[in-house]
């Protein structure tokens, strides 16, 4: 699993329908075990960039290469979604199951993990984000911060090789932020974090970028 380039975008152009190009000729690389931060003003295209990596929207032009393969069709992204865990900016968009337990189990079950193993994964991941005992609760009835933690749990439960986290700490209390930081600091992870918190990014990432006029720029 020693791939140097996990994610490689070349000359990616994208704009929403009836709008000017939001990303134009954008190049971006995420290397193995690299920890990248993205910061930038509202509406500059950070979330859009992550959507393109996950194959949720398709670029107008340019190449999306992930795990060494060019990804174009919907089918190409199956492997991508299995190995990249994506935390949505808004947790309400991410949660859809009737119970916390099923929510965490959804991913592993889709990947064919056996039932006993899934039970164990559910218990472990919920403990990791401090939601033990929440199993039968309905996700919609959780508080904002609890929803965030549950959304994180659904991603950790899939044991992804790469993490894309869109504003992971929004709405979380201090103790939970510390807990998340500890998880993210464990060695060997590769991830992209989008955040407006400069200090948080400095602490957890090796390189920081910003998006400006449709291009990504490294912040020195």
């Amino acid at each position: 699993m020693e791939q140097i380039n996990l994610i490689n975008l070349k000359g990616v152009c994208f704009g929403y329908p009836q709008r000017p190009d939001l990303l134009s000729d954008l190049d971006f690389t995420l290397n193995f075990q690299e920890r990248v931060g993205i910061i930038g003003p509202n509406g500059c295209g950070k979330t859009t960039l992550l959507y393109i990596i996950m194959g949720l929207i398709k670029p107008r032009r340019g190449e999306v290469e992930i795990f060494g393969k060019t990804r174009r069709e919907e089918g190409d992204f199956k492997e991508v979604r299995k190995k990249i865990g994506f935390l949505f900016q808004n947790s309400d968009d991410q949660l859809f199951c009737p119970s916390v337990k099923e929510e965490v189990a959804f991913g592993p079950l889709n990947f064919g993990v056996n039932k006993e193993m899934v039970q164990k994964i559910v218990a472990d991941t919920l403990a990791r984000v401090g939601l033990s005992g929440f199993e039968p609760r309905t996700p919609y009835s959780l508080s904002g911060g609890e929803k965030r933690r549950l959304a994180l749990a659904t991603i950790f439960a899939m044991n992804p090789e790469v993490l894309l986290l869109d504003e992971p700490t929004i709405g979380l209390d201090e103790e939970t932020v510390i807990r998340i930081k500890e998880i993210l600091k464990s060695p060997g992870l590769s991830y992209i974090i989008v955040s407006q918190n400069r200090l948080f990014l400095k602490e957890l990432t090796d390189i920081q970028y910003t998006i400006n006029n449709g291009k990504i720029k490294r912040i020195e």
Binding site: F106, V118, V122
Partner: protein, 248 residues
């Protein structure tokens, strides 16, 4: 399995529930026999009491159904030809109109009570699981699931918008401003609901959803189910016998 029982507060296998609801509804819907309708309604009430799920919730939903039925009562007796039994003002109500309205009321309540008490309390994933165990095509189940999510989403968006209006000091009056606001709310509701369900679809894709629902808890037919199946089968036989007696 244990958790499923706890959460839903009942013990019947959802597959049994679905099949029974289906057969029961077809028999009741197709029958025009008053006796079948009455027995059907009684059996649905007994069922609800035996299962003992949230009676208040059932009553609330029944209220909505019966508001529509009330409208039928205002129209049917006066518009169906036949021997007249009473008249209000110039309007003459016919015997056959009244019995027709009565039949519809009994039938719809019987079906709705059965469906609510058997299908609505087990959680959407149990239903989905049961449907897929019954070999219903995944595409259909998927549509059903999204429809459910979409309805839920619309409702919660409505609540949010309502609060948004309140905190900005909106008070409904009979004014152009009020109607225009309602128009905006309706528009926003549809758009938001659509967008949210698209995002949920994306979230499902991101977690490896490929059109198949897998569930943690499996269903097993237990002793409770056997009793339930026996009683349900008996009820269906009784209804069919009543129906055929009439036919002969």
């Amino acid at each position: 399995m244990k958790e499923f029982e706890l959460r839903s507060g009942r013990l019947i296998d959802p597959r049994v529930s679905i099949i029974y609801t289906l057969i029961f509804s077809i028999i009741i819907a197709l029958s025009s026999n008053m006796l079948v309708a009455v027995v059907g309604l009684i059996s649905s009430i007994i069922l609800t009491i035996l299962i003992a799920i949230n009676i208040a919730m059932i009553l609330r939903r029944l209220l909505i159904v019966n508001i529509f039925i009330l409208i039928l009562w205002l129209i049917l007796p006066f518009s169906t030809p036949g021997p007249i039994i009473f008249s209000i003002g110039g309007l003459k109500a016919s015997m056959s109109g009244v019995s027709y309205a009565l039949l519809i009321s009994l039938k719809s309540n019987a079906i709705v009570i059965t469906a609510i008490s058997l299908l609505s309390s087990g959680g959407i994933f149990n239903l989905v699981r049961a449907l897929s165990d019954l070999r219903i095509p995944d595409k259909l189940i998927y549509i059903f699931f999204l429809f459910y999510r979409y309805t839920y989403v619309l409702f919660s968006e409505y609540e949010t918008i309502k609060q948004g209006l309140k905190i900005r000091g909106f008070e409904p009056k009979t004014s152009f401003h009020t109607y225009r606001t309602y128009g905006y709310v309706l528009g926003a509701l549809l758009l938001k609901g659509y967008e949210r369900s698209e995002k949920i679809h994306r979230a499902m894709l991101c977690r490896g959803f490929e059109g198949k629902y897998r569930l943690l808890d499996h269903f097993r037919i237990g002793p409770n189910d056997l009793i339930a199946i026996f009683m349900m089968a008996l009820n269906i036989i009784i209804l069919l016998l009543l129906q055929w007696n009439r036919l002969i």
